[in-house]
Assembly symmetry: C2
Homo-oligomer: 130 residues x 2
């Protein structure tokens, strides 16, 4: 099977999770948007993972991408700020993933809410509500 770097590189969107299943809808839309931007099935997998209350958890999502052939996995926290979940919980979980897959490059990005372009898009949305 022909593979490309993109197809071997997975993205896991890491979110908090909630009791209400409808909470996950925007994350599903984000994952779909990202899959399209990556070129569909040939662009490498995009998965969701949750800290609590929803499944799969991060180790399960990373293991699935590795099992599907990924050689690199990038974890992107879909959080606004860096509180205890990002500063304390996430590094421990990412270290567990790295220990489970020592041959795989597992990177962790800063939370999406820190990005200037994301902040600008949110500000424009707020402006349109007035």
């Amino acid at each position: 099977m022909a593979t490309t770097d993109a197809a071997n590189s997975g993205i896991v969107l890491f979110a908090h999770g909630a009791r209400d299943a409808r909470w996950a809808e925007p994350f599903e839309r984000l994952a779909d948007t990202l899959r399209s931007l990556r070129g569909g099935p040939r662009g490498g997998p995009v998965s969701l993972a949750f800290l609590e209350l929803m499944s799969p958890d991060l180790p399960t999502a990373v293991a699935a991408q590795v099992a599907s052939g990924c050689r690199a996995v990038t974890v992107v926290p879909v959080f606004f700020g860096q509180g205890g979940h990002i500063r304390q919980d996430l590094p421990v979980i990412v270290d567990q993933c790295r220990a489970a897959h020592p041959d795989i490059e597992i990177r962790c990005a800063t939370p999406v809410g820190e990005d200037e372009a994301v902040i600008a898009a949110i500000a424009q949305y707020c402006l349109r509500q007035v």
Copy 2:
């Protein structure tokens, strides 16, 4: 004192709150960005409010905008999805604000994470991390 519609219309960015003070940094940057987009001090106030663990709470932030002369306040939830905090907690708090200020128009927007342009900006950020 000359006033404008914009100056009489406040925006309160409603966020979850966290124990770690650094968590609020992106929200402060969002508020600053929004203040600039609204034209600075003449563009109407922009405040932060929190559900828990940080202050002020929403009733306090709304009361401060009303005291400063706002005739309308728009609450924008800076949340990704609609879980219990948005579907159950927030409507109760907004109703409290409306009861406290019956002459003020208090509107509540859908969470920023539901907006297509915000989702698109997050997806582009994710793409740049790989």
